[in-house]
């Protein structure tokens, strides 16, 4: 046992400094960097849906000559990467903290997983009867709509204003993109959606630093 650490802090100012340092150090270690949680998704949407727009452009055009399989493959690979980063970052930060927070996180994760599977199962059966451009629109509008709704729900669970606002933004641009039609939807989601996620991550990080 360190002989000094049973002694009181030298004065009130030292005690207060010790409290503040310890609380912010703990918060820094237990709360993951918001950029790592937001930015990988932002990049995935920006690049993935961006390629989708360039390959499957409005009016059956092809702004950039790319293999048909490329945009979706890149999108899924980037989404998967973002998911893995999120899982690792969360496990590192919240690992070995047990209780209400862990339960919230686990149930929220279940909502994403099961929600996606159940929605896409129905969609898969319908979209084969649709022309390619409409099938693409239905898939991406549903995925983006689900994301917006779950982000709003996440904001409500953690009383996280940034996450809630992002959910509202994603839902609104999804609506605008769906009205604009096939092709345009991908452009709106890439620029306003992906860009929105990047901005939200920056804002969330700034709020975090301010708090710590």
């Amino acid at each position: 046992m360190n002989p000094d650490d049973d002694l009181p802090p030298t004065d009130a100012a030292a005690a207060l400094r010790l409290i503040e340092d310890q609380r912010s150090a703990t918060a820094r270690r237990l709360v993951p960097d918001a950029r790592l949680l937001y930015w990988p998704w932002g990049v995935a949407w920006l690049v993935g849906f961006g390629l989708f727009f360039l390959r499957f452009s409005p009016g059956d055009r092809e702004l950039l000559r790319l293999p048909v399989w490329l945009p979706l493959t890149v999108l899924f690979a980037l989404l998967l990467t973002a998911g893995v980063i999120q899982a690792v970052v969360n496990a590192r930060a919240y690992g070995q903290v047990i209780g209400d927070s862990a339960l919230r996180g686990r149930w929220y994760g279940c909502a994403w997983a099961l929600g996606s599977v159940s929605v896409y199962a129905g969609l898969g059966r319908i979209s084969e009867y649709l022309p390619d451009d409409l099938a693409g629109l239905v898939w991406s509008a549903t995925a983006v709509g689900l994301t917006g709704a779950l982000e709003m729900a996440g904001g409500a669970i953690w009383l996280d204003r940034d996450l809630f606002r992002l959910g509202v933004w994603i839902s609104v641009i999804n609506l605008a993109g769906a009205i604009a039609g096939p092709g345009w939807h991908a452009l709106v989601v890439a620029v306003a959606g992906g860009g929105g996620i990047l901005v939200a991550g920056t804002i969330a990080r700034r709020r975090q630093r301010h708090r710590q």
């Binding site: 009181p8 009130a12 703990t26 903290v97 927070s101 862990a102």
Partner: protein, 103 residues
């Protein structure tokens, strides 16, 4: 500073309590993680946790995660209150004119 709570008013235990106070209300932290956050030896942390437990400030529970036994720690309601009162007392010492709502 004689009127300050002697259980918390020791550097190591103040650090332990301050760290635990940063956890969510319904959360517990595993012993090794707390040890890592505080950069204390296991023996040292155990000694201080026992003192805090004796005062009723922390709750220590033994459980199993899978097959490995785990020790989980959290601040009790009483401990949280004691920590708040301690922080308030420190702030009053630093600036007696400060109204309590601003602390």
């Amino acid at each position: 500073m004689s009127e300050l709570d002697p259980v918390i008013h020791a550097q190591a235990r103040l650090r332990v309590v301050a760290s635990l106070s940063a956890l969510g209300d319904g959360d517990r932290i595993a012993f090794p993680r707390l040890q890592e956050l505080l950069a204390m030896t296991a023996g040292n942390l155990s000694v201080h946790l026992r003192k805090l437990e004796d005062a009723g400030y922390v709750e220590i529970s033994k459980t199993h995660r899978g097959r490995t036994p785990a020790t989980l720690i959290r601040l009790s309601r009483r401990g949280r209150l004691a920590f708040e009162e301690y922080t308030e007392a420190i702030c009053t010492l630093l600036d007696p004119a400060l109204p309590k709502e601003q602390l």
